[in-house]
Symmetry: C2
Subunit: 648 residues, 2 copies
């Protein structure tokens, strides 16, 4: 078998692979990223590449236009190398890093809830679980030559009222040198126990008085992105933050494809290794940005969904995606971060947010803790919307949760011109009621490249209210506009003609796209409803909605209610918390209270499997309309629709 | 600078070293052992080697005979290589492995106390700290899909009444596979907490029912030798034992030289590495001998003196030998054995016997625990005699301890023809009252090679009672025998003429040898006396003597009393326990009681520093006679001496 040279443009990266290798795998090995949501099975159609020169076989799919095929477009995952070849990765097939920047400043602001650090301080709860204590010990003399460790422990008992202490071999190893090189003056890093009868761990010792140099890291391991914050544990301040794409993306864009990859030989190790590499690069950036000495970082708190957590900890996640969907653990013990490859000091203690179930993970628990929902009186609905939506309802007395698969529509997946909420994504839209010409707005105000999830919601809501589509999401075939057309047997509305786009193709919204959105919003709405019904409540009893997640922050609330994604509620009763996972990780670096509460909260969060709840399917079918079979559930919209009809 | 080839015989090992390198260091690098008690400073005279061919410089010392120097003998530590050279290591300069074999069957048996396993069983205390429990879990189903860990914990609570459990990441990682590959049947390895309010640790899990396959290792880290026993934790049986020389011997024969070596750059790491290598070789041998599957070893208990313990754990021991003699720690936390390089399964938990002070270490604590002394009513004197003697007095209510430096005389050090208690060592002796010709007995009944500690005691006692030496250890110059002679200005008694020896030299006992013995025994006797006086007691109140250590087992009790090493006491009230350190390590593998008690016992053991106790020097001076200034303290001997005088 011959070897072939594959050149990837615009990266200009070259790799030699054996004949017959798939282009997707060649790209992976060359370190070139190509979107591939389906993990390389040819069904998502994301991995479009342009063969500019040379020999390939296959790669043709119904996911590609005839025109495109003629131009040389192929699906990388289905294309085999048969000779030296030059391949170009089109703009829309590689990830645009601008998504990292836009997520921190949500476009639409309703009420944004920031980490509630002030109220922590007011309530006297600013007690970081990792504290520093400065001590001056009397040096030994012949009448008092107790061992160094005994001297330390005795002194801590008598002078600092510290009891029930435990310490580790590395600290014992460090002690004699630190004491003698620093005139018996030292700073201890103490980890407070979670249970009141537990022991305080002496995590580390350092020479001299460095008690104010005490830092922690909050780290959110998202399926797509990894965010870290460097927290000053003395002031509570966030000194630096940074994010990056989870390196696992190259092995599958979503949880399911990662789970499949993890089962391949060496797959779990590989995924663990690459997520740790991303985490380490984020850590390096926040440490550098903050200007602190990394020797003074003592703790790191991780939160992620169940799959991300298990992959990160090398805990085989194969049972997560198989009925009856059993995760390995909910609570993980604290561990030394270095043992999983984290490049911080050896002693740094890592804490991982607990999980509730295979589909309600540590990111959601962190959101519930960080938002304070678990301490609130009012009936709250917590929603983290993505490919999988996680829902929590309850208050300080009880909590119920579930997850439902919304499909990738909200993240631009399964949408013909779908893309993430990055530069060039159409995010806002209106339509001329006479000509049906559109007005589009993109993120970054550049030529359009595709449609992001929030744009999709807005378009669908606007078109529905304007009568361009009906309550089943079908285009009104009677309207006189060239923008509504049938192409490849599919009805669509052209949002931008190709000469106005960045991708040299007409960008359109199709009926299957709208159908995908309806399924997605139907899944979420009916999930919420079913969860409430299971605990004997109804949707109109919800007093507060918390929207978490990058996507949540982008939603136009009114439009989301129009399509029936959210119940109609006073927008003032909706809070955006942004990255709830990161917020929770940060909050639990600042108060031991959260670490104490989280074990109980996790136990309290009753998990419902919608697939095991018979009413879910009925609720789902009823929600497969715009906004819902029963428009009475959306009285404001009903009124607007009636008024519009009167005007016509 | 040229390189030179050095060939070591009889090993026939060759190494190339730069010109000017010392022969001792060349031997070290070549992996050839040469005794060097002084760590290579030219003062002990142990490292005699014979230059058979080639170029050397220096190496001549007053420690060598003129005859020997003419023959080509040199001290390796003082000899520099100046060209290619062939060197022979004489028999007495390399360690004789037969010492390993003889130590297990003491020559003289008074009452030998074996590990008191039966009484453990009778008292219901046979509760190994590491237990195995077999469980059959119900497999998950859609109505019951709790996480694997939760399932395990819940089931342990309900079915096995196990509460307060904790587990580690590696166990969590193993769990999903073990459950599903074994039909949800598994065996847990549980570590019981030391404190009643502590948590039970799930140390490991294994598929199926292997609850009877539960093994532990007891390991004594001696300065000279390392012994291991493989214990069946289900039956209490010792399945195999083995010993080997501590590899650190090549870096210094005793504690002080090792402490000095440890301060050299890389020294601590090197000593840790070589002791672990010896331990691993011992482990391999006992695992192989026992025929068990090493996967079923779950725990290892180490005991050693304070220096050995700190070197093994990489805890810098530099302060042990510097006033005010501060060890780093007494209690060490349990740790995973693999983290210090022990080649057993990753999960194996290591426990280390606590220390009392720099000079009363875990070996002594283990002896106190293993012998049961700490539970006895009677006033007991525990003695571990070696270069450093450790002394403990007390009973179940109180314990006091100290250590004194006896010098190396008991181990054959500082004695002209001294050697360890190995094959060829003169161990018994009598003298013809008329001709003063000797009758000597050697270990192994071979031609003599030297004098071991017990032989030295016997000779001195016999000669004293026969009037060959006086109560200050000086030879009676008036006796008519060629065996008493002055050589190199030193008086000596020739035990064996050179043609009858293995070493082709006259073997003699010299006045400086006897003087060394008197200093050694005086240090121990006065140590015991001072310790008793400090707690308001006298020597005659002692009801029981426990002799620990290899050397202890060899002592002829009557002779030891004759020279004033031990107080006169009914021999039935003396017990030999052999290797008390190993016994203690073994016993604490079998009963959690010892692990619970040892913390309290260690705290209870009041440590006295003899150097800080003014009466010690007076007691020492008074003990510098045979048997003592006050012969009234030895009434039986006094009577025998008076009777002998009458007979003459």
């Amino acid at each position: 078998m011959d070897n072939c040279r594959v050149t990837f443009l615009p990266h200009d990266r070259v790799i030699t692979v054996p004949e017959g290798e798939s282009l997707l795998r060649a790209a992976l090995e060359a370190g070139v990223h190509i979107n591939a949501s389906c993990g390389g099975e040819g069904v998502c159609g994301k991995c479009r590449i342009l063969v500019e020169k040379g020999g390939v076989e296959g790669g043709i799919s119904e996911r590609l236009d005839k025109d495109d095929i003629e131009k040389g477009y192929r699906l990388a995952c289905l294309t085999k190398v048969s000779g030296d070849v030059t391949v170009r990765i089109p703009l829309e097939s590689s990830v645009d890093k601008s998504v990292m920047l836009t997520q921190v400043t949500p476009r639409r602001t309703a009420k944004i809830q920031h980490p509630d650090f002030e109220s922590l301080k007011e309530k006297g709860l600013f007690i970081p679980p990792v504290e520093k204590v400065y001590l001056e010990l009397p040096p030994p003399d012949p009448q008092n030559n107790m061992p160094d460790v005994t001297r330390l422990i005795e002194f801590l008992k008598v002078q600092a009222n510290e009891h029930k202490l435990e310490l580790t071999l590395p600290v014992i190893r460090k002690l004699p040198g630190v004491l003698r090189e620093n005139d018996f003056k030292l700073t201890l890093t103490l980890v407070r126990p979670v249970r009141d009868d537990g022991k305080t761990l002496i995590l580390d010792i350092q020479g001299g008085d460095v008690k104010d140099e005490n830092y922690g890291v909050a780290l959110d391991i998202g399926t797509t992105t990894i965010y870290g914050q460097l927290i000053n544990l003395t002031t509570g301040e966030c000194l630096a933050e940074a994010g990056d794409f989870n390196g696992q993306i190259s092995y599958g864009e979503d949880v399911i494809t990662r789970l499949i990859y993890a089962e391949k030989p060496g797959g779990l190790d590989k995924l663990q290794e690459v997520v740790v590499a991303t985490i380490n690069s984020v850590l390096k950036r926040i440490v550098t940005k903050s200007g602190i000495d990394p020797d003074f970082v003592s703790t790191i708190t991780f939160s992620g969904n169940t799959t991300m957590t298990q992959l990160f900890l090398s805990v085989d996640p194969r049972n997560i995606r198989r009925a009856p969907y059993v995760p390995t653990a909910t609570l993980y013990p604290p561990f030394r971060a270095a043992t999983v490859g984290i490049e911080l000091n050896d002693h740094v203690i890592a804490l991982v947010y607990p999980q509730v179930s295979s589909f309600v993970g540590g990111d959601i628990v962190a959101g519930v803790m960080g938002s304070g929902m678990y301490r609130n009186e009012e009936l709250t609905l917590f929603l983290d919307i993505g490919t999988n939506a996680e829902l929590v309802v309850g208050n300080k007395d009880w909590l119920a949760c579930t997850a439902c698969s919304a499909g990738p529509a909200f993240e631009g997946g399964g949408i013909e011109f779908g893309m993430r909420a990055a530069k060039g994504a159409i995010e806002d839209f209106s339509i001329d009621p006479v000509t049906y010409e559109p007005m589009i707005f993109t993120i970054g105000d550049v030529s359009p490249k595709g449609i992001c999830g929030s744009g999709l919601i807005t378009m669908t809501a606007v078109m529905f209210e304007m009568g361009v589509i009906n309550n089943r999401g079908k285009f009104n075939r009677d309207l006189d506009t060239p923008r509504i057309r049938k192409r490849n047997d599919v009805w669509e509305y052209v949002l931008a003609w190709k000469d106005r786009t960045q991708i040299d193709r007409d960008i359109a919204l199709t009926e299957p796209d709208i159908d995908n959105l309806i399924r997605a919003k139907g899944a979420i709405y009916s999930g919420c409803l079913t969860l409430l019904e299971e605990v004997g409540l109804t949707m109109d009893m919800v007093e507060h909605i918390i929207l978490a997640g990058g996507f949540g922050s982008y939603i136009d609330l009114e439009k989301a209610m129009t399509i029936g994604l959210l119940p109609e509620i006073d927008p003032d009763c909706v809070t955006f918390i942004g990255n709830g996972s990161l917020m929770g990780a940060r909050m639990s670096s600042l108060t031991n209270r959260i670490r104490k509460d989280v074990v109980e909260v996790t136990k309290k969060m009753t998990n419902f499997e919608l697939s095991e709840t018979p009413s879910y399917m009925d609720n789902y079918v009823a929600a497969m309309f715009l906004p819902h079979t029963e428009i009475e559930k959306f009285p404001k919209l009903k009124k607007r629709m009636e008024e519009r009809k009167k005007r016509l």
